[in-house]
Symmetry: C2
Subunit: 219 residues, 2 copies
């Protein structure tokens, strides 16, 4: 089996949202599993000295246009959110709590629902009550989730997860690491796919090589 892919994202990142609609399909195509890591760009930006894209002079106006155009170019549903920028701490912590208590697949389904709520249905995902509504259809007790997201263990875990991510070189959203190879941005997904393909071919050759070795053994 091949190693999982690490996918880092902030819930307020439009390019992270675009990436979230594709990453599982790309991985599956090459026999991989994706580990979803919510991070907080606000914490990362303290190290890199960056600011949220829409708040940067000149870049800000451009990026709203680029979000729109990039969504159309890639046929991804998107509607400019009115609640923006907004804090994503609670959503990230809720997702960690789900990973801990309901497993990775439920947590990932929740993450996809949160992204869609913000970037398609214009829902204020900073509101715990809105997150509760997204959790319920997944068979999750929303009160337990929101309480869990507020406890110290989860808060400390999120901080530590972001430290780990930065130690691995993560500085933006989306950020993908495949077998140690880092890729920043939704616009690197063509290279992510090319890389996965080349790794897959190496792997298949290795399997072929083992079979040849077996044949060399006396029967």
């Amino acid at each position: 089996m091949t190693a999982p892919i690490d996918f880092y994202f902030d819930f307020s990142s439009p390019y992270g949202y675009f990436a979230s609609t594709r990453i599982d399909d790309i991985a599956q195509k090459y026999g991989r599993y994706v580990i979803w890591h919510p991070i907080l760009l606000g914490v990362v930006f303290k190290t890199t000295g960056s600011s949220p894209l829409p708040s940067i002079p000149l870049k800000g106006d451009y990026c709203w246009r680029d979000f729109e155009r990039t969504s159309e170019f890639n046929h991804i549903d998107y509607k400019r959110p009115t609640h923006f920028p907004l804090p994503t701490r609670h959503a990230a912590r809720a997702m960690l709590w789900l990973q801990n208590n309901h497993g990775a697949d439920v947590a990932t389904a929740f993450a996809k629902a949160v992204y869609r709520a913000l970037f398609v249905d214009d829902i204020n995902i900073a509101e715990p009550a809105e997150l509760a509504k997204l959790a319920e259809p997944l068979g999750v007790d929303p009160i337990a989730m929101n309480e869990g997201a507020n406890n110290y263990q989860i808060k400390d875990q999120l901080k530590a997860e972001i430290d780990v991510a930065m130690a691995k070189g993560v500085f933006g959203s989306p950020f993908v690491i495949v077998d140690g190879e880092p890729f920043w941005g939704f616009d690197r997904f063509d290279q992510v796919e090319a890389y996965l393909k080349s790794r897959r071919q190496t792997e298949l050759r290795a399997v072929g090589g083992n079979e040849l070795n077996k044949e060399k053994k006396p029967a």
Copy 2:
């Protein structure tokens, strides 16, 4: 005829170099001409608060890897320059002087030679003597060029050109504007091409429409 495409770049920008190897071919495919605009990111960054990519914590290490990988992915010659970062003021001014005195095509040929010198042949393009060597094969008097690049008129022109660029929303390199539509980054070249294609189709339909109108006229 269709309007020219504006292409903005800083000579020290690796993604600008990648773009410089493609922009004329893409434009030509859709019957367009490219106007090359050298800018200075140092001046632009005073407005946006950005820094050169390689100097940003975490991002710096990543970007060198991305330059390498993106050049391979796109089959573009590239060798990591040892003279980096380096001032590009003189190269930009020399290019403007060439535009003024030898025309756009000679100036563009010079720009391509400067980019290749820096990102393939590892030449220190901050040195006027090196720029002189690149200008000579183009039939340019290198002494006149270097003197011209130092005069006040050219210095003022470069400042004004950068102000114009920023007024149009330019904040990075490469930056392309097609019929008012802005595209930032070499990784938007697929969208630039899609946009040019759609404009071309609109144009052809318009021509077709005119011909239909003509046919309606009594012969």
